[in-house]
């Protein structure tokens, strides 16, 4: 009976304030979509880290004709210089940090280059002697990149040492900034949502002050008096959270999984189903948002 009564009150309240309820739904929807987007970016970053960190290497590029670095003063790397580098890689100072290394000749480099840019006209204008040969070093701990850098960057015949991880880090930091921006916008929107929910409940409580006054007098419990108001806000917020989850899922499915993953086949992308684990979080956040702001409002406007 009491449940039926409370449900009836909620229904009445939602009907009475349709426009406010719709605005609560929209503002929670938008704010939680930003939260979800930030979450999705973080998941993508983790996914790429996991995928790439095993594969990244430190590349020691050798001098070619056009090299300008001081260690290339004597022209393209000689066989003797290459031998020297190989010895260094196997020396006691370096070996403990290296799991394996491989030599990539200029011909190999051209082959890889052609694979990578198969669809691009640039391929035809590149020849093997323009691409540097390199030693590809797999590190035990990729963080120890400095060891290789110090050892080889001044070695004759070496043009430069590049840590591929650093290239990735740049990408990740761009993605991190994007997710911070999303979180920032989400934060602002959440403040809007909280204020809007508070206002909605205040109006709702005001328009029903007769009923609540009588309820108090005949001894209705605090829960029966306040629950309809709280649940009104929570229901609106949950609808917003469901819409936000749907939107985030749709982005993951149609943009990331169907489009990006198809375009960039050699990169690891998150799948739409992975993104679904964000849904409970968004729902809980929506409920907390509405619950907390309504309880704070009611404490002031619906004393028992």
């Amino acid at each position: 009976m009491r449940l039926a009564f409370i449900l009836g009150e909620i229904g009445g309240g939602l009907r009475r304030n349709v426009s406010m309820v719709v605005s609560v739904i929209l503002v929670t929807f938008v704010s939680l979509t930003f939260v979800g987007t930030a979450g999705m970016l973080q998941m993508q970053i983790n996914q790429m880290k996991g995928y790439w960190y095993d594969k990244v290497q430190v590349a020691v590029f050798l001098c070619v004709d056009t090299s300008t670095s001081p260690s290339c003063a004597s022209g393209p790397a000689t066989d003797e210089q290459k031998k020297n580098i190989e010895t260094l890689l196997d020396s006691a100072a370096v070996k403990p940090y290296v799991t394996s290394w491989a030599y990539e000749s200029q011909a190999d480099a051209l082959k890889h280059f052609k694979e990578q840019f198969a669809n691009s006209p640039i391929v035809d204008s590149v020849s093997a002697d323009q691409l540097p040969a390199s030693f590809r070093v797999n590190m035990v701990n990729p963080e120890k990149y400095q060891i290789i850098n110090e050892t080889f960057s001044a070695t004759p015949g070496v043009e430069t040492v590049i840590d591929q991880r650093q290239l990735l880090e740049k990408l990740f930091s761009v993605m991190n900034i994007a997710s911070l921006v999303a979180v920032g916008i989400a934060g602002l929107m959440i403040i809007c949502a909280i204020l809007l929910i508070a206002t909605t409940i205040r109006l709702s409580a005001f328009s029903r002050r007769r009923e609540t006054g009588i309820m108090r007098l005949v001894g209705a419990s605090k829960a029966v008096i306040q629950l309809p108001f709280v649940l009104e806000g929570v229901i609106a917020a949950v609808i917003g959270a469901v819409l936000a989850s749907g939107t985030v899922w749709a982005v993951a499915k149609f943009f990331i999984q169907d489009y990006l993953a198809d375009q960039y086949k050699d990169t690891a992308f998150i799948s739409a189903n992975q993104v679904l684990i964000l849904t409970p979080g968004l729902l809980v956040l929506g409920i907390l948002l509405a619950g907390i702001s309504s309880l704070l409002t009611l404490r002031k406007y619906l004393k028992v």
Binding site: M1, I214, G219, A220
Partner: protein
Amino acid sequence: MIRFDNVTKIYDQKTRPALDSISLEIDRGEFVFLVGASGSGKSTFLRLVLKEDHATGGIVYVAGQNVANISSWRVPKLRRGIGVVFQDFRLLPNKTVFANVAFAMQVIGKSRGIIRETVPEVLKTVGLEGKENRRPHELSGGEQQRVAIARAVVNKPGILLADEPTGNLDPTTSLGIMKVLDKINRNGTTVVMATHDDDIVNEMRKRVIELRNGVVLRDEAKALYTSMMPIIPAADSGSGRSAGAHK
């Protein structure tokens, strides 16, 4: 049923207390009129019984319980034992008579079956049979007040507080309301009624507690609106209102 022990209520430090160290006791089943000029503290008295406000000093007991010790989540339980009626009826305009009374049962979780059984009974007690489906604006003032009384007693409270329930009604209608309150009192409910209506008080011959400026001026059984006590100072013969003022 209700006991005030040196109860003081001060709303505002700058003004005199609304109630000033009042002590009195109202027994189960009594019918008591609370009279006194406007601002004498009648409504304040009722508010303290309901725990709508807390006493500044002293102790208020309701049904043997010190209301100051009732935690906020148990206040609803206290209020279920007390029915309240006001001068302005306070009905819900878009609900029918039946729904207005049923509302008081719904919000404390009574089952539909019990509501369907009890509400018509109570409406009969207050003399509103056949008007279940009217809305408040289709009723006279007296009938509206009967609905309010029905709502106040439908949960069978031990105490009924009425704050000037006949204040908006003409004398004949008021008398009808008093018959209803008397009937409810005979069924065992303690009734405390604040009023300015001297005709009614004189007609009913019940206990009268007169307040003035927050103190009890007199407290007499089977009394009239104005005191019947012999007046001691010869100079002040008429009203006797100042007779007990200095004790």
